[in-house]
């Protein structure tokens, strides 16, 4: 047992300075503190994000002119595969749950850690191993996979590139995701502070709860699919490869049974972040708490039943087409409910446009465009024209980047000062925001236009009539990247040299993370709080006088 003096010395020391069993780097990579693990994820994620952005930049650069601009077709195909695999498996899927979920879920629930801290550390190690394997596949002979992130059979069994390595990496990353989900479900069920009923939980926790169930239920399917591919390749059992008597469409079904719900693993936590930020910066209670909470669950349920809308052109039965198109339209409803409730939360608020709020409002706008273009593709006949064109690329970037990406940027600006006790430059953050917003739309909006005009996706070369749209889009990528460089430089400088913040409640939030020290102590709470009211009450609005800070 630790002696009392050492324990006392560790009291009220921030988790960043806490002295545990290990020193130096090992005090991080072997730590079971959910906050340190959150930061480990953050560091790794940002490295992979930088890599993913680089490949995205190179894709756009190649498409600046018809014909060859910088690389040969084979290399271009590897670029878009790596861009997709890195962004999806290493950045967007783990993104919010692994970083901000890990760091803030226990705090928001009034707990000292997640339910299984060691499992949590294992998740991180699996994640890093998966990431390293993907990097290894780039460097090993044979070269990185060139199949697109969808690994469609039979092409993926014909190509000589390192598909198996990339696939195994996805398998490991899947395990990491399942363990995180399991951990969060247990944490939410078992570790809520006394008095915190389900409807007194912050909405970010609700969104992580819905996400965690998808992670646990859907992810094993991609794992099993990968095992079946190995069975097919090693034992020659014909499952997917038509040359062996298998069915390539079966692979597409199994792939999307996971990968469509995975889209909701990516977006639902971002919706949770937005639901946290909007009431805080509007200084009022959230509109329709229960509708927002239940719509997360609704999305998780319906979202698991729409996978074949990725396959309207493969030749499914009419019954299949009917059902999947119908359910696709139904899954739009809970998302619409959320958007309406967020907008209504602004009504009669007292709104301040700090950087987290700007990103949150951009989320609503860009995610709405992503959602509406989703409706366009939900209609069977229209989807048949649009599927596999750049319209789809535009659509999912509006949802994944305009939605989840902006959600992550919002979360960074909202919570980083709490995590590290230092503030970034607010003015520069706003400048970066506007550059990102303009660059984003310049980059992705032309994709809708050229997609409607018939520009297929995953094309190295294109016909001259599409040139203008490609060029606008590529210029957009430069603007977007400039904005992101300014944003990340500002955040990193803020963490290193920014103004020290010790104030507990930086933004005027009412969830539990704003009641504890900045940065939090190792145990988060000196005394586990008792909860008696729902979050986002803003009682000061109901008293007669204005709170003092506003008068002055």
């Amino acid at each position: 047992m630790d002696n009392d003096a050492a324990t006392a010395a560790n009291d009220h020391v921030s988790f960043l300075k806490y002295k545990g069993k290990y020193k130096g780097i090992r005090s991080w990579i072997l730590s079971t503190d959910h906050k340190r693990i959150g930061i480990l994820y953050l560091m790794a994620l940002l490295c992979f994000f930088a890599l993913g952005v680089t490949f995205g930049f190179l894709i756009r650069l190649e498409l600046l002119t018809p014909g060859k601009t910088i690389v040969e077709p084979q290399v271009y195909n590897e670029f878009f595969t790596l861009h997709g695999v890195i962004m999806i498996f290493l950045f967007v899927i783990p993104g919010l749950p692994a970083v901000f979920g890990n760091f803030f879920l226990p705090i928001m629930l009034g707990a000292k850690d997640v339910a299984f801290p060691r499992l949590n550390l294992l998740s991180w190690w699996l994640y890093v191993t998966g990431g390293v394997l993907i990097i290894a596949s780039i460097l090993m002979p044979g070269g990185p996979a060139d199949t697109g992130w969808t690994f469609y059979i039979p092409y993926s069994v014909r190509t000589t590139t390192n598909v198996i390595i990339t696939g195994s990496a996805a398998f490991l990353l899947g395990f990491s995701s399942i363990l995180t989900g399991l951990n969060f479900i247990t944490t939410i069920h078992r570790l809520r502070a006394p008095g915190m009923g389900w409807f007194k939980m912050p909405l970010f926790a609700w969104s992580l709860y819905a996400t965690a169930w998808i992670q646990v239920l859907a992810t094993p399917i991609i794992g099993i699919t990968l095992l079946l591919i190995i069975v097919e390749r090693v034992f020659g059992v014909g499952l997917f490869d038509p040359a062996l008597g298998g069915d390539p469409i079966l692979f597409q079904h199994l792939f999307w049974i996971y990968s469509h719900p995975a889209v909701y693993i990516m977006i639902v936590p971002a919706m949770g972040v937005i639901s946290e930020i909007i009431p805080v910066f509007a200084r009022r209670t959230i509109f329709g708490y229960k509708f927002i909470a239940f719509s997360s669950i609704g999305i998780a349920l319906f979202g698991s039943l729409v996978w074949a809308h990725h396959m309207f052109a493969v030749g499914m039965s009419d019954t299949g087409q009917f059902i999947f198109s119908f359910l696709t339209f139904m899954v739009a409803i809970p998302s619409a409910i959320k958007v309406f409730n967020w907008t209504a939360t602004l009504y009669k608020g007292s709104i301040s446009l700090d950087p987290p709020m700007l990103f949150a409002l951009a989320f609503i706008f860009l995610f709405s465009i992503g959602g509406f273009t989703g409706l366009i593709q939900g209609a069977l006949s229209v989807d048949i024209h649009l599927t596999d064109t750049s319209f789809i690329v535009g659509h999912f970037h509006y949802v994944m980047f305009g939605g989840t990406g902006m959600g992550i940027f919002a979360a960074l600006h909202y919570w980083l000062p709490k995590m590290f006790g230092r503030m970034y430059n607010l003015k520069r953050a706003k400048v970066a925001f506007w550059i990102i917003f303009v660059g984003f739309n310049t980059l992705y909006f032309p994709m809708f236009v050229m997609g409607w005009l018939g520009m297929p996706r995953r094309y190295y070369d294109y016909l001259p009539e599409y040139t203008i749209y490609h060029q606008i889009s590529t210029v957009g990528s430069w603007i977007l990247i400039t904005g992101m460089i300014i944003m990340f430089t500002n955040l990193i400088q803020g963490l290193r040299k920014g103004k020290v913040v010790t104030e507990r409640n930086i933004w005027g939030g009412e969830t539990l993370e704003w009641t504890i020290e900045t940065p939090p102590t190792h145990d988060n709470f000196d005394k586990i709080p008792m909860i008696s009211t729902p979050p986002y009450e803003y009682k000061q609005n109901e008293t007669e006088e204005l709170p003092e800070e506003i008068i002055h």
């Binding site: 009669k348 409002l361 706008f365 229209v382 048949i384």
Partner: protein
């Protein structure tokens, strides 16, 4: 603008513009409200917020109206699709084969070509196959797309309505030269089309007889 060259474009485009219209309306509504609230209820103008926990009639309204609109969109898409998926019995059959990285079109008289020549004002049914990996037969001007999957025969149909030359793309990623798996669709009057097929047939036969005489 994108060419409108088959019977399918009318309904597909109507559905598309209907959904785009509804979407633009709601996007403007949401964004307009957002901007108005941000200005009208800024902390400067409105230092003290009012708590509103919710409003059930409002929640019902904005659940029911989008649901009805979504059902209408679904129905339009479905009825168009029914039309697309039921070829007329007397349609003219052409076998389409995709392989890395080109297309082959085989006509009922045995002629094979690598551009898709089509007679004007005729119902055409394409039987789509693949020799190796997945491809997709995509003619934007017709709003037609169907995957070519090895081991299967997929079909699609359309009625040609306008003379002209259109693009045919491979729309399912198929490896290195995916973006070069492009050819032309050429719609010509029926007489010219028949003449072309006969000429090609004669060329083919004379080539074959030359082969046998050697």
């Amino acid at each position: 603008m994108i060419a409108q060259a088959s019977n399918l474009v009318h309904t597909v485009d109507q559905t598309f513009y209907f959904i785009v219209g509804v979407s633009v309306f709601f996007l403007v509504l949401i964004t307009g409200c957002m901007i108005y609230f941000v200005i009208r209820y800024s902390r400067k103008r409105n230092p003290k917020a009012t708590n509103i926990h919710g409003n059930i009639p409002l929640e019902i309204t904005w659940t029911v109206i989008p649901t009805i609109l979504a059902l209408i969109m679904f129905w339009f898409g479905w009825t168009d699709y029914k039309l697309e998926s039921t070829p007329p019995a007397d349609a003219y059959n052409i076998d389409v084969t995709g392989q890395m990285w080109h297309w082959t079109f085989k006509y009922p008289n045995g002629v094979e070509m690598d551009s898709l020549f089509l007679p004007l004002d005729k119902d055409i049914k394409v039987n789509i196959r693949s020799k190796d990996v997945n491809h997709s037969f995509f003619v934007p001007a017709f709003r037609v797309k169907k995957d070519a999957i090895p081991g299967r025969t997929n079909t699609a149909w359309f009625r040609t309505e306008k003379e002209g030359v259109y693009n045919l793309f491979c729309a399912e990623y198929c490896g290195m030269k995916h973006s070069y798996m492009i050819t032309k669709v050429v719609v010509i009057p029926v007489n010219d089309f028949n003449a072309l097929l006969n000429r090609k047939l004669n060329e083919m036969n004379s080539a074959a007889s030359k082969d046998t005489t050697k």
